[in-house]
């Protein structure tokens, strides 16, 4: 390893030496030759071989690292083209799947939207029907009519007229003496008193109606109208508009025995 052994003079000596070496080692055992070769000697042939081995080790490690670094780098053009084709078709396939899934998702979203809309509409409808049928307590602005009939001059028709007039004027909920008026309500004269849905009504008749109070007042109080008629018969009628009326009485509709809803398509 010392530079001193690297003299030019030894070069020619080694040239001669090289030829002699094989003959010298031929008789000895291979293992002895191996150990002899492992002995550190610095001459030109050792250095040349060492340089080649250095190159081999270097290239080996570089190639191994290159191979681990990126697997695409060592591929041939045709292989790269095939890989690219595969990736392209795969990505097209995935894009197609994505489109399908998006369409399905949109469908489901709009489906749930329309279902919610239908549900809200149905709830709205149920509330309206319940108010109309008189199955729920209601509150709101309206009028209060108090009819005092001490002389018993009024009959069922008069009260029915009042109710009709209220309905015409747009009353949404009507109560007569704590009885809710529904679509099935009926009035009848029975032995001098008025019967509503099987219950006798007694003077004074308290009529509550929820609706636009100005319209209702105008309808009831118009000249020649229903209240004028009542007063003309000798009974007294007082109408007042209220901002807040509570109608708590409920109508309990009987289950319909004959009518069933038509199936909707």
């Amino acid at each position: 390893m010392t530079p001193g052994r690297h003299e030019d003079g030894r070069g020619t000596e080694l040239q001669k030496d090289r030829g002699a070496q094989p003959q010298k080692g031929r008789g000895t055992e291979p293992r002895t030759r191996l150990f002899r070769a492992l002995r550190p000697r610095l001459n030109r042939k050792q250095i040349v071989v060492a340089i080649l081995c250095f190159g081999l080790g270097f290239a080996l490690v570089v190639q191994v690292q290159q191979n681990q670094g990126d697997s695409l780098g060592s591929l041939r053009q045709s292989e790269l083209v095939r890989l690219l084709d595969e990736v392209t078709s795969q990505s097209a396939e995935l894009a197609r799947t994505e489109r399908e899934l998006r369409a399905t998702r949109d469908e489901l979203l709009s489906g749930s939207d329309s279902a919610r809309t239908a549900y809200e509409a149905m709830e709205d409808q149920v509330t309206r029907q319940a108010i109309l049928a008189g199955t729920v307590p209601v509150t709101g602005p309206g009028i209060h009519v108090r009819i005092i009939d001490n002389g018993n001059v009024l009959d069922a028709l008069v009260i029915l007229e009042v109710v009709q007039e209220l309905r015409n004027a747009g009353a949404e909920a009507i109560e007569v003496n704590d009885q809710r008026i529904a679509t099935s309500s009926w009035f009848i004269d029975s032995s001098g008193s008025i019967v509503l849905d099987g219950t006798e009504l007694e003077s004074p008749y308290q009529i509550l109606a929820i609706g636009d109070s100005s319209t209702i007042s105008a309808a009831l109080e118009m000249p020649g109208g229903v209240l004028t008629g009542i007063r003309g018969r000798g009974a007294s009628a007082v109408l007042e508009s209220l901002d807040e009326i509570e109608i708590d009485s409920l109508n309990r509709p009987e289950k319909s025995r004959f009518a069933t809803p038509q199936p909707t398509s």
Binding site: R18, Q21, P22, G25, R26, T28, P30, R31, R33, L34, A37, L38, R39, P40, R41, L42, R44, K45, Q46, I47, V48, V49, A50, I51, L52, C53, F54, G55, L56, G57, F58, A59, L60, V61, V62, Q63, Q65, Q66, N67, G69, G73, S74, R76, S78, E79
Partner: protein
């Protein structure tokens, strides 16, 4: 001894420097490495047989490397690059195995 040191030194330098292979050389380097390995095993065998000659080793080493790389290059030009490099690797692999078997016989006498 010096040769083994050179090999180890080459490995260490390669690990430390981590150079990247130029793209023109990339197809040829693996084949060249296999060819050099073949030459190395041949050299060890010759050493054990007592017929080692550094000139023969040098020439066979370099010619093996150059020929292997040239074959791969030729294969690439002909459109049979991958097949030809497989063929070269197979032939060199067989030679490495036979050389290794000879070395084993010399060292272990079995």
């Amino acid at each position: 001894m010096i040769a083994a040191l050179g090999l180890i030194l080459g490995v260490i330098v390669g690990i430390v420097m981590q150079p990247s292979v130029p793209s023109e050389l990339q197809p040829y380097l693996p084949i060249a490495v296999v060819a050099a390995l073949d030459a190395l095993f041949g050299g060890v065998r010759a050493l054990l047989a007592g017929t080692f000659d550094d000139r023969v080793f040098t020439v066979s080493f370099l010619s093996n490397v150059v020929l292997a790389a040239f074959l791969v290059f030729l294969g690439d030009q002909l459109g049979v690059g991958s097949q030809l490099s497989t063929a070269v690797v197979v032939v060199l692999g067989i030679r490495i195995f036979s050389n290794a078997a000879a070395i084993r016989r010399y060292v272990f006498k079995a």
